[in-house]
């Protein structure tokens, strides 16, 4: 990798962290309504996965995957307006947080029924196969959502048709409060890949190099027509499930253990070992990221609130019937 590329990857991780930190702060100030779901600690997973994608590939992020939105090309201004529930958000105020995708950039908005996007991703991948398009679909899901039937149905179908789809499980050890040992009886969720007839990879989700390596293998496989890959990235969310969750179900020791493997600090350590001018890179990157975030907040605050009756728009291609 060139230094330029390594610095770019660093910027993305810092931007995701700064963006989410600002959103969490706005939430604490009471400026945001609705749930806020921080992916702090998981930045290498979304950045490493999405950096491997092309503009015409599709990604299916979770509520916690701000990084997928940013790296895949979503306008940070509109993303912030989406979080504010304003008219310039992707859903024009109709739903909160990351439920409004940005289809022009191949970002699909998830429902709250996690793993429900996996069949959709499989459907898109079927179309790529059917029309001989060199494109991929990447669906994120948590280890908790891996228990839902949609995950099974989608992977089974993708295996049968060897579809160009990559299933990325961010195993952050808690589904809200439920720990892995109450979620599944296998050692790794990706062990299940064998049951679908394709390759499973278990990797650190905090080490960007590792994430990029497994993604490279998975994208190569998919683009060669060799079918799906199930990637399980072991990682950890520092915050609770949402900003309102104090996460009393885990120990401080566990949290600190993971914080000491922080994905951004690991990358800084790497750049330092490469003898780059780390302090200068840090200062420049932070300033650049904060500028993007501040501009986004200013844009979102200036964006108009939707009016009440706009709740009746976008139900159908053209308005129908006499719904009241």
């Amino acid at each position: 990798m060139t230094e330029q590329k390594e610095r770019e990857l660093y910027f993305w991780m810092v931007l995701v962290r700064e963006f989410e930190a600002r959103v969490a702060a706005l939430d604490k100030q009471g400026k945001l309504a609705g749930g806020v779901y921080s992916g702090r600690g998981q930045e290498a997973a979304t950045v490493g996965v999405c950096h491997a994608l092309r503009p015409d590939d599709w990604v299916f992020p979770l509520h916690r995957d701000m990084g997928a939105y940013l790296v895949k090309g979503a306008d940070p201004n509109r993303l912030m307006a989406q979080i504010f529930g304003r008219r310039d958000g992707f859903s024009k105020g109709k739903d909160s947080y990351l439920h409004g995708g940005d289809l022009a950039h191949g970002i699909f908005g998830a429902t709250s029924m996690l793993a429900a996007t996996l069949p959709v991703a499989a459907g898109m991948a079927y179309k790529f196969r059917m029309k001989n398009e060199d494109r991929l679909a990447v669906a994120f899901f948590g280890e908790g959502a891996s228990s839902r039937g949609d995950a099974h149905e989608a992977m089974n179908f993708a295996g049968v048709h060897k579809l160009p789809v990559i299933f990325v499980c961010e195993n952050n050890f808690y589904a809200y409060s439920t720990p892995n040992e109450l979620q599944f009886a296998v050692e790794n969720v990706a062990d299940r890949a064998a049951g679908y007839g394709f390759k499973g990879e278990v990797a650190s989700g905090n080490d960007l190099h590792t994430v990029m390596n497994v993604m490279q293998k998975a994208t190569d496989r998919a683009r060669r027509g060799e079918g799906p890959t199930f990637i399980e990235l072991k990682t950890y969310r520092y915050h609770g499930h949402s900003e309102h969750d104090r996460a009393a179900y885990r120990t401080e020791e566990e949290l600190v253990t993971w914080e000491s493997r922080d994905p951004i600090e690991l990358w800084e350590h790497y750049m330092d070992k490469r003898k780059y001018d780390l302090p200068a890179i840090q200062a420049e990157t932070l300033a650049r990221a904060r500028k993007v975030v501040e501009d986004a907040v200013a844009f979102a605050e200036a964006s108009p609130e939707p009016t009440g009756p706009e709740a009746m728009d976008d139900l159908y291609a053209t308005p129908v019937g006499e719904g009241r």
Binding site: V120, A122, A125
Partner: protein
């Protein structure tokens, strides 16, 4: 004009649309090599190939979810539920995924999918091969629901459903598959979504119905000729309802009976009755009445099934009762 069964009409519509538009495709269980459990898709895989006619695993949620993904990319998938009862296994993908797709994306996305499958009772199908689940979806904005009663409508509504840019649930009645046969035009025609049809004109009582009970209602109207003048409105589309035709007919007769094979309580008739009562109170000369299946499951044994379902005699009785007001 050739004689065509209700089942053949659906098959023709799918074939014509697939020939017209290479983005139309069909997914479902046993729809390909076998041509479907009822042979509705017979001949399609031979003509259009196995990439477009997809035999899926037994995975209703996958079928519908994948359909949404295909639709976002401009495909127009028809998604078969082998029996419409199985739509329950794909419920989340319909009400939370497909129905909200356009809305939660602020109008960026269209979802041109058709979910179709055989529903309805009267064939001793028992609990899981007889249901009429349309009311489960009736209060979900973003969906359209159609339920043809004739071969002409089966064909014309299927073609409209395929061309529609929103998710359409197409409820076909398995009792009608081979029992209904009619002449339909050779040349292309569409039946618009959202438009009801008058099956019988009358001045004393309006019967509002859809699906298989249209035929029982028309039969009842015929039997009552000379005694009571009965108008039969075939809704054809359940969401959005054709309130224009409902209003016009009820204003004319002053009496409304809503009939459906779906269960009475919480059925579509309840909404129609409420709205007639609210908007047409001054026009009414009697209570808005309803007749549906009894509030129980679709029992198997013949005497039970007969007890549960509305039929021509029960409709005739209800019309007489209403006419006496």
């Amino acid at each position: 004009m050739p004689m065509v069964t209700y089942l053949q009409a659906i098959n023709q519509a799918m074939q014509e649309e697939m020939a017209r538009d290479e983005n139309v495709m069909l997914m479902g269980e046993d729809v390909g090599a076998m041509g479907g459990a009822f042979k509705v898709s017979e001949g399609l895989i031979e003509r259009f190939g196995k990439l477009r006619i997809v035999d899926t695993p037994i995975s209703e949620s996958l079928i519908i979810g994948a359909g949404v993904g295909l639709a976002v990319l401009g495909m127009r998938p028809i998604l078969e539920m082998q029996f419409i009862d199985f739509i329950a296994c794909g419920f989340d993908q319909i009400v939370n995924q497909a129905a909200t797709l356009r809305y939660r994306h602020g109008g960026q996305a269209s979802c041109p999918i058709v979910i179709r499958g055989p529903g309805g009772a009267g064939v001793h199908g028992g609990l899981y091969h007889s249901q009429n689940p349309e009311s489960w979806f009736f209060s979900v904005p973003g969906l359209k629901l159609v339920a043809p009663a004739t071969a002409y409508d089966a064909k014309g509504l299927m073609k409209s459903a395929i061309r529609d840019d929103d998710p359409v649930l197409y409820f076909e009645h398995k009792f009608l598959y081979r029992r209904i046969k009619e002449e339909i035009p050779d040349e292309e025609f569409l039946v618009p979504i959202g438009k009801a049809a008058l099956r019988s004109e009358g001045t004393d009582v309006t019967v509002i119905t859809y699906g298989a009970t249209v035929h029982s209602a028309v039969g009842a109207a015929r039997d009552l000729a000379g005694e009571i003048s009965v108008e039969v409105v075939d809704l054809r589309t359940l969401l959005p309802l054709d309130w224009g035709m409902i209003r016009a007919s009820v204003r004319k007769t002053g009496k409304a009976l809503i009939v459906h094979e779906a269960r009475l309580t919480g059925g579509i008739g309840a909404e129609i009755a409420a709205r007639i009562a609210e908007e047409l109170f001054e026009d009414l000369d009697g209570p808005v009445m309803r007749l549906g299946s009894r509030d129980t499951h679709n029992a198997f044994a013949a005497p039970m099934e007969a007890f549960i379902l509305p039929d021509k005699l029960k409709i005739t009785e209800a019309i007489r009762k209403l006419a006496r007001y």
